[in-house]
Each structure stands twice: as structure tokens, then as C-alpha cells.
Symmetry: C2
Subunit: 496 residues, 2 copies
């Protein structure tokens, strides 16, 4: 059976990707610096092999024949997901793939030193090359898929999402978010706030992190926690590798990072076991993935009921201090401050950072603006959405993110889609299971069961809209996200 042959072929690809995921994790966490060159060579050979696996000339016939075979619904979906990965890998000419990889590596590598040096002029020619190749790729993908250029890139991260829908979404956000930010700042201006006083020893932070991961149901038989310069959730779904970094002056950063990555991890650990080796068993999209990390970090961990559980743990690990009172911690974890850096942004200002990036990357790919116009456009939008200037400050402006350096255009919207999906999931859960206050306070397993049943166990077996509608009653709905922000940040009681 051709479907069987395809499944075996994609399982083999999954095994190769497993080796790449573990060696990639090792590179970021365990590898001594001198091992890097050999590792990079080995991983690049693996990338070529994985690409070859998807270029196998037998695949075309197998897909044709499997299309004629009688398959039940799940296997039909599995076939479609295999076909999507295959199509994605074969859309671009090999020369272009190689050129993109080369230009991306070069630009990303240079960016690591050009950003701290605030060197926009040095960065521009490298970035222009990346953008030029990304536009070529977008054109080729667009033609083959019958999509607009930007949509053809978006499709890689968020299948089914289109910029027409994102335009509407972000227009909506633009209409209310800047005003909401101002009102929240006005409200918070007079609220008392104590900052937790360090130092917070790394070993204690790690112990606390492990305890919170256990509380959040992380399965330590199928994963671990380590340290890396840039936190991530890697490994494979049977063995999920989280990382964080510790700052002994800051108790919030590592802990919230761990909680965020634990959300990603539980999604991976909860994917449907029998589909694990095939595309159908993998995470649905980047937006859905981010919805799980943000459900854990924002909906759950910054909820006053969770903070009430966190406070005694902080006291136990670091000793009592006034800043650890639940009231103060709740204010601490929900303080809103417009800033220049996306990864440091709070829950309320974060979407403004994404709106800005979305507009710019869409216009860059569609040819409506040029690379050289980036700093000015960035500054203009930063002023408009957050009232801050980045004039001359490239490193905290348009040079701050890694995404565009290697041509990952179309990724940014996932963050805000995730935040909205997470708010919808929290609202639906409350409607079905009772107040979140109570679920978080005394019935955490019910929270995780809901996510397992409505999100995790479906892998890629449902389209995103279908998945979200089935779980929450509606597909993407920014109004629920707005209600969440209004209720958490503008209602009278801190505990609202």
C-alpha cells in the first residue's frame, strides 16, 4: 500500500529529525565551545539528508496512488499532512534553498555582533540579500499555492491563516489597544508596588522551577530542565527539553520563562501517542503552540489564584519578604510598562510589538517598502503604538529580533494569535468547568484535562479554525482577548 510506504518514509524522517533535535539541544546546553564547528557540519549534513528524504522521487507516485486508496478519516488527514510537508519542501528550487540558507546564516551570524554595536549600516546589505531571496521564495511559493506572496510565507507557520484576516484583526487591535494601555497605566500609577529583593541563588531558583513544573503536571519521565543562553523548548515529544537562564537579581524572569516553556512542553507531551511519528501527530501550528505557552504563562500563572499558590513557594525558597505578599505579587506580575524590547514586554503591550512587525514584514515581502526604510518605519510605528522613539537606536529597534535575520518572515503573528487563542480557551474552560479562580486554586488537573481533551490530543488532525471552534465555540475572536485584558487590568479589584 502506498499509504503504508509513505508512513514508513515519514517515520524515518521523524527519526532523523529526532537526532537533529537532541543534538541541537545539546549544542545549546551541553556542548563545549570547541565542538561547534564539527557539530555544525554534522547538523548540516543531517539537514541535507532530511531534505533529500522529502525530495525522494518515489514520493510523487506514492502520493498519487495513496490518494486512490480507501482510508478512514484520520488516515486521510495524515495523508494530507504528509502531502503538505512534502509540497512545502519541494516548492522551491534547490539553488534558492541553498542561497537562502547561506545568506541567512551569514546575516544571522553578523547580526550577533552588529546588533550590540548598533551598526545598521553594516547590517543593511546583508539584510537586503536575505529579503531579496525571501521575496523570490515568496513569489515561487505564491505561484504554486495560489496565494499572495506574504500569505505563502504565513502558510508555513500558521496553515490556513491569511493576511486579509490578520489585517482585520490588527485593525481591530489598533482601534482599542493604545487607549487601553494608557488607561491601565493611569490606573496603575498610584498602586503601591514592592519589588522583590535579591539575590536569588540559582540553585534555589532551579529548585523552585522544578517544583512549579511538577505542579503544572510536567512529566519528568519524558523531559528535563536545563540552562541555555536563549531559553527554548526543544527535544522531541517523548523527551521534551526545556531550558531557561537564571539572573540572581531577578526572581521573575526564569520562573515565568519556565512556566511559559512548560506550556509548550505539555502540548508536546500531550500530542496523540499513536500519531507521534507522523506529521498528523505534530503540533497544529505556531499560533496554537504559542497559545499553550501563553495559557500557562498569562492565563494561568499571572492569575491571582495561581499567584496565591506561588507566594508560599517563593517564601519557602527565598525566605519571607513583604514583596512576596500575594497582593503585591499580583501587582508585580501584571505591571504594564511600554518598552522598546518585545521579549521583555508585558501581556498588554506585547500585541503592539507584533502589530508593528506584522505591518512591516507584510509590506517588505509584498514589495511595498524597502529594507532601507525599515528604521524610519519602525520608529514611526513605535511612536504611534507605544509612544516611544527608536531614532538612531537600532539595537533596541529594528535590530532587536533574530527572526528576519535568517528570513523567517510570517512568524510574528503567531505570538498574538496565541495570546488570543489562549484567552478564548480560558473563557471556554470557565464556561464549561466553572470559575478559573476555583479551577486554579483547587482543581489544576481539570485545567490540564480540558487542554488535553480540546487541544493537545488532536495534534494536527483538525484544521486550526476547526480545533478552536470545537474547543471554544468560535474560531479566532479578539473580543475575548480584549475582555480578558479589560477584566484583569481595568476592573477595580486587583483580584478581578
Amino acid at each position: 500500500m502506498s499509504y503504508t510506504a509513505l508512513s514508513q518514509h515519514f517515520e524515518q524522517l521523524h527519526h532523523l529529525q529526532h537526532l537533529g533535535a537532541i543534538c541541537g539541544w545539546d549544542q545549546a546546553t551541553m556542548m563545549p565551545a570547541g565542538g561547534n564547528e564539527a557539530r555544525a557540519e554534522a547538523l548540516s549534513t543531517l539537514a541535507v539528508l532530511c531534505h533529500q528524504q522529502l525530495q525522494d522521487p518515489r514520493l510523487s507516485d506514492w502520493f498519487d496512488a495513496a490518494g486512490q486508496e480507501s482510508l478512514d478519516r484520520e488516515h486521510s488527514v495524515s495523508l494530507a499532512e504528509m502531502r503538505r510537508q512534502w509540497r512545502d519542501a519541494t516548492l522551491l528550487p534547490a539553488d534558492l534553498v541553498r542561497a537562502m540558507s547561506l545568506a541567512g546564516s551569514r546575516c544571522e551570524h553578523a547580526w550577533r555582533s552588529l546588533r550590540p554595536a548598533n551598526d545598521w549600516a553594516g547590517y543593511l546589505p546583508l539584510f537586503e540579500e536575505v529579503l531579496n531571496l525571501s521575496r523570490q521564495a515568496a513569489s515561487a511559493r505564491a505561484e504554486a499555492l495560489g496565494l499572495s506572496r506574504y500569505d505563502s510565507l504565513l502558510e508555513q507557520y500558521e496553515p490556513g491563516m491569511r493576511s486579509a484576516r490578520l489585517d482585520t484583526l490588527f485593525d481591530d487591535l489598533k482601534s482599542w489597544l493604545p487607549g487601553l494601555i494608557t488607561r491601565v497605566q493611569d490606573k496603575q500609577r498610584d498602586e503601591p508596588l514592592l519589588l522583590p529583593q535579591g539575590p536569588f541563588a540559582t540553585e534555589q531558583q532551579r529548585a523552585l522551577g522544578l517544583e512549579v513544573m511538577a505542579l503544572l503536571g510536567f512529566d519528568f519521565e519524558h523531559g528535563r530542565l536545563d540552562v541555555s543562553a536563549h531559553p527554548f523548548c526543544g527535544g522531541v515529544s517523548e523527551d521534551v527539553r526545556l531550558t531557561t537562564r537564571y539572573n540572581e537579581q531577578d526572581v521573575a524572569q526564569a520562573l515565568m520563562g519556565i512556566i511559559h516553556e512548560t506550556g509548550h512542553a505539555r502540548y508536546e507531551q500531550g500530542l496523540p501517542g499513536r500519531w507521534r511519528r507522523l506529521p498528523a501527530g505534530q503540533a497544529r501550528s505556531m499560533g496554537v503552540h504559542e497559545s499553550q505557552s501563553l495559557f500557562f504563562e498569562m492565563q494561568l500563572a499571572r492569575h491571582p489564584a495561581f499567584i496565591a499558590r506561588l507566594a508560599p513557594l517563593l517564601e519557602r525558597h527565598f525566605g519571607a519578604q513583604p514583596a512576596f505578599s500575594p497582593d503585591n505579587l499580583a501587582r508585580f506580575y501584571t505591571r504594564v510598562t511600554p518598552g522598546l524590547i518585545r521579549v521583555d514586554a508585558d501581556e498588554v503591550t506585547y500585541p503592539a510589538h507584533i502589530m508593528l512587525r506584522y505591518e512591516i514584514e507584510r509590506d517588505l515581502i509584498e514589495g511595498k517598502m524597502e529594507a532601507r526604510d525599515l528604521p524610519e518605519r519602525w520608529d514611526q510605528l513605535m511612536q504611534r503604538y507605544l509612544g516611544l522613539s527608536t531614532k538612531g537606536n537600532y539595537k533596541d529597534g529594528c535590530l532587536q529580533d533574530i527572526h528576519w535575520t535568517d528570513g523567517s518572515f510570517g512568524y510574528f503573528p503567531s505570538y498574538t494569535l496565541g495570546a488570543i487563542y489562549a484567552a478564548q480557551q480560558a473563557a471556554a474552560m470557565q464556561q464549561q468547568q466553572g470559575p478559573l479562580e476555583q479551577l486554579i486554586g483547587t482543581q489544576l488537573p481539570t485545567v490540564f484535562e480540558w487542554l488535553q481533551q480540546h487541544i493537545w490530543q488532536h495534534g494536527s488532525l483538525l484544521e486550526t479554525d476547526h480545533l478552536i471552534r470545537q474547543a471554544c465555540g468560535q474560531p479566532l475572536d479578539a473580543a475575548v482577548f480584549r475582555q480578558h485584558l479589560q477584566q484583569r487590568y481595568l476592573a477595580d479589584a486587583v483580584y478581578a
Copy 2:
């Protein structure tokens, strides 16, 4: 150029093996238990790919054509080493390779519980299957290589070594080793000995281990030290991963284990950089590899001059105690006690364990004895060489080693070849550079430079006999090993 094509092909193979080595290390050190099934699947897919890489139909033509190309000496050797690996991978029919892998996995897996249960009867049928397949493999290899059956297996681990030569070697050892063991025991019987008193905290043992690794020139930019149930030296030569295990009651085990593995590691780290990705740049043989670990553990670390340097480190990490006096430590680290377990054996009795295994595995493969006769033969030889009985005690007798469970016949002689080569290297070094006492006491870098120059930098560019003769003046010479044992264990002064 076909030689270039071959080199690229083998470099690619090397990259795949890199991924396997790191993921194998991870499996033993970092992986949570629940990740094992997925990891085993991924590694088995990789093994198939590596095998396919060596079965590539283009290789035959490339080797034919490359044989006609004009190559300098080093590239000719490189070609020969590639050809040897290729030949080794293509000697056996695929069915037999699969059957061996399956039977070996099954037997090894069962052995892990049958050994503690002392269950010889349960083990025998599984072992018979492994032996039967190993004999078939030996026959096929023997015919293709024009060697005896056992020699064709030996060739995998110790290229160029033959059983006729090993027979002579072990006959020689048999003539003097049992008598020497008795005399050493007589001499040591009345020597005072204090045992170091624990507990020795794991963290302190690790700190001491790292300090000793640094003293021994381990390059931490290209390697690391971790913990695993069974210590090994893994990873890749650019990133060598040592492991050990800590016993808080025993200060000797982990430390000497670390020193042993550091010997393996420095060989790997010292291999010729420009040949690293090709067979010619890999370690010469298992015997030469073991000569480096045993040079470090036996020739160097148990030398009184090294123990004099170790004593203050032990005091610093664990506090002073009478057992840490250099005299006592020297006696402690050279105490000879015949025992049943090979891996616990001292320097003097160790070769007796190997003589026994060599005779048995040679006769098993040549069809001169059957699997069912193993316990009796084991007991008989154990009585003869070490005066100990293993009657009815299978778990500390013929069930103690992992090697035969998966069909690794022909490996055991490497241990004793390594011990002999190490003694020859120490003797040659003394002759060329001055007394070991002085080199170890004040000129350790000279020791490592000698090994770098005479052993490490040659990779597989010289045949073993050539390598050893060039370094030590003679190929394999057991007389030097005998002199070393006599001088260290029977001369009057403890410090001799």
C-alpha cells in the same frame, strides 16, 4: 576525482556517526527513562542509514578508479583505510547482519536480568543463537579475507593481529604470570595498609576529578565530564564526552576511572586534525586505544611520583587522614588480590582474566568447544590461573561480561595488548626523556608531548606494528610488561 568523491562520502558518514555518538552519550547520561523507546528507534534508523552509506553501489567503481589515481603516501593510506571500512561493511549478507543485531539485542537485554539471577539455563539458548550467528559471520569473513575464523573477527578490533601471535603471547604470560601473582601476594601480605575512610561526597569527588583531568591536560574546550551507570569515553574527537560514577564510600573507583577515560580522551583529542573526518584520522585500534587509557591509569597514575602529587589533592578535597600518606596510597593503589571480577581486577591479575577469555572465545568461534561447556571451562581456567572457583556461580563467572552477549568476539585481547603497549611506551619514554619519576614529578607536559608525537598524531596512518616499533623500538613485546610488573611489584622499595 574518485578519491575526492570517496572522501566526501566518508566525511558524510562521519557526520552521521557524530550525531549517533552524541545521541548515544545523551541516552546514557541525560535522557529521561521515558525517552528510550523513541531514541532507540531513531538510533536504529541512523544505523541503517550508515550501513546504506557503506553499501552505496557507486563505492565499488570509485575504489577501482581511485586505485589508479596518483596519490601521495598519506592519501594512499587514507584510501586503504576507507577501503577497509567499506570491505568490513560489505562482507556479510544483509540477512545475517539483521539476524545478528536482533539476536544480540535480545541476548544482551535478557542478560541484564539473567546475570543478577545467576540464571545460566535461561541464558544458554539465547547465547547459543548469538554464537551460532557469530560463527556464520566468522566463516563468511574468514573466506573473504583469507583468514582463520577467529582471526577474521579479531581483525575488526585489532587489524593485523593474528591468533598464532596471541597464542605465543598468552603462552608466555601463562608461563610466568601465576607465579608472579603468588610472589607479589607473599610480599604484600605483611605490608601495612590503611584503607581511606569515607564518606567522600560526590561533589568533592567530581571537583577532584576535574582537577586531575586538568593536570592530565584534558582540553575542556573540546570535552566534558558527566555521570553514567557504566563509565565510558564517547562523543567525537572534537568534543569528547567522559563519564564516571561516584561511590561515596570509595575514593579510588571514580578517580581511577576518570584517569583511565582521560587517557582514551587525550588520544581522541590528539588525533590528527586534518584527517579527523576520515578513517585515516581515527584511532588505530582498540589495543592502541586501551594502551592510552592504561598508560594514564597504570603507568602514570599508579606511579609513586604521581601518587605523591595526588596525596595533597586528596587532603585538600577530603581533609587529612593517615591513609592519604603517599606511602600508604602507593600501597593502596598497587595492592594485588586475585578476584572473580575482571573489571575490579588489579594491574597484575588482570591479564589472567584476559588469557581465560581469549582461550574460550577462540575455541568457541573455531568450533572447538560449545556454548554449553562454557561454565565448566571457565571454572577450570579460573582455578588454574587465579586459584578461584566459580562452580555454580555463573554471575561472577561466565555471565559477568557484556561482550559476548551481543557477539563481540575478538575484543578481549585488546585489553592485554593495551597493557603491554603501555608498558613499552613508558619504557621508551624513559629511555628517550629520562626517568619517569622525574617526568611525572615535574615535567608532565613532556609525557603528553611524547604521546602526541609518537601515538596520537598518527591516527590510523601507520599500521599498529609500525606505530609501536617507531615509538618503542620493538613491536609488541611482553617482556617489557613483565619487567614493569616485576619492578613495580617485586622490587624491595615500595617506590621502585
